[in-house]
Subunit: 246 residues, 2 copies
DNA sequence: CAAATAGTGTCTTTAAGACAGTATAGT
DNA sequence: ACTATACTGTCTTAAAGACACTATTTG
């Protein structure tokens, strides 16, 4: 859907890009956020249909510039995500900073990329008022169907790779789940991200042995089978690093 | 030595820092490089004595701004390190990008930090012509003796933490050694960084089992004992991640 | 009680840790 | 031969993987 071919930037330039900038020029410093979530069918990412001039009509990551009143880079990223789609991520972390001399027709851009994780149950909160403005796209392999603006395809790939790798040695994937979840839920998340199935017994021994989760007394969304125990991250939770790969 | 107390910035400002900048202002984008090496006595880092106005007289990381002709951010970092001390690191990687509203008196700075590793045998190549301009400082614990300019103490701490952590699960520490080295050498590097001793037999099984090193036929710097086999990274070497912590 | 999924127990397998023992150089 | 460090082998130990078995719910 809406695979707009490359929209040629139409604003005035006087020849070479870099030459058109002031002599002691700074690069344009932007922040871009890769928001990832996990639905039944796999990873999804949040994209925005651009209506402004560079790459107008193309899909892009939510982005913007830092403002003097932002408390920090991470704060700016949170603000930009909230501004774009009215959503607060359960986790946000800096990914990498990309220098890019090619993809921004205004010349010379440096992008601090952030990765945000959003639990599937909060997807409804995403502001989809203008339905073709923000949209979830399924991640296929290591990228996404539309031809993204700027160097965002590259950034998206880096974020996906990071999350997949982290699923093998950290507790990061809990941020793709609601606050309370079952161990089978968590195992499914890791399996989805790693692309292979894990042994139930070994997985439980590992996860519970790390003692960053605690059981909640209330039981589980009923099914015609034994209900599963609900767990949640302990109050002081920070991402736990495993001493072995899963 | 040379613990200059905070040199008050002396150039003109009209009241609040941020207010003195143009309204649609960009932050100042800088690159800073943490160069780490390993001597007998432990980790060392390369610092520059500033002679320019913000924090003049204070020690700081080699730093500078990106130029339009830099090929990439990493390229800019390599250029800045070479410019500052005439040295090429055996490894350079992006660390993290720090937003900083407090420490740069010119207002509002964003610093892309890089970590560079330099083998001890190439330390002589560092341009020490102006001997109090660039100097190696021993890392004590997680920081360094002098009171660094800007937010560089923070950046340095992050780099040290990263290198120490990586010593536990990657082959990164080989970049602190000459191209050819022995397994006892490598074990000592890991032990230094991890701060504990490792079992010789287990270490060798792990490292050789990963097959990123190959033996060199020529033997070792002689001592009054059995000489050790020299090894080097295979031609296609990229940092190897272990599947377990050391 | 049948179906379905949750959760546990046990045996096997793998790899690390401890550490003794052998190898090879210089003096 | 002695010393010092390199390197290997073997036994022990810890934890993961495989997989069978038990538990608990609904219909």
């Amino acid at each position: 859907m809406a695979k707009t071919p490359l929209a040629k930037p139409s604003f005035p330039r006087s020849g070479r890009r870099v030459a058109s900038r002031p002599p002691a020029s700074h690069p344009l410093l932007t922040i871009a956020i890769v928001t990832l979530t996990l639905r039944e069918d796999g990873l999804g990412t949040l994209l925005i249909r651009r209506d402004e001039t560079p790459y107008a009509g193309r899909w892009a990551l939510p982005r913007g510039v830092i403002r003097p009143d932002d408390m920090s880079l991470a704060g700016a990223a949170r603000r930009l995500l909230a501004q774009a789609v009215g959503v607060e991520a359960s986790h946000i972390e800096q990914l990498e900073t990309f220098g890019d001399t090619k993809h921004d027709p205004r010349g010379w851009a440096v992008t601090v990329a952030y990765m945000a994780l959003l639990p599937a149950d909060r997807l409804g909160a995403v502001r989809m008022h203008a339905p073709d403005k923000a949209s979830w796209w399924p991640v296929v392999g290591t990228s996404v169907a539309p031809n993204l603006a700027f160097d965002h395809a590259h950034i998206l790939t880096a974020a996906i790779a990071r999350l997949r790798a982290r699923a093998g040695y950290t507790s990061l994937p809990i941020h793709l789940l609601p606050q309370k979840f079952t161990l089978p839920d968590l195992q499914r998340v890791h399996e989805q991200l790693l692309g292979r199935s894990l042994d139930k017994s070994a997985f439980r021994k590992r996860i519970t042995g790390l003692e960053f989760l605690e059981p909640v007394v209330g039981e589980r969304r009923p099914a015609s089978n034994r209900p599963a125990q609900l767990w949640r991250a302990k109050a002081d939770h920070r991402t736990v690093f495993f001493d072995r790969l899963l």
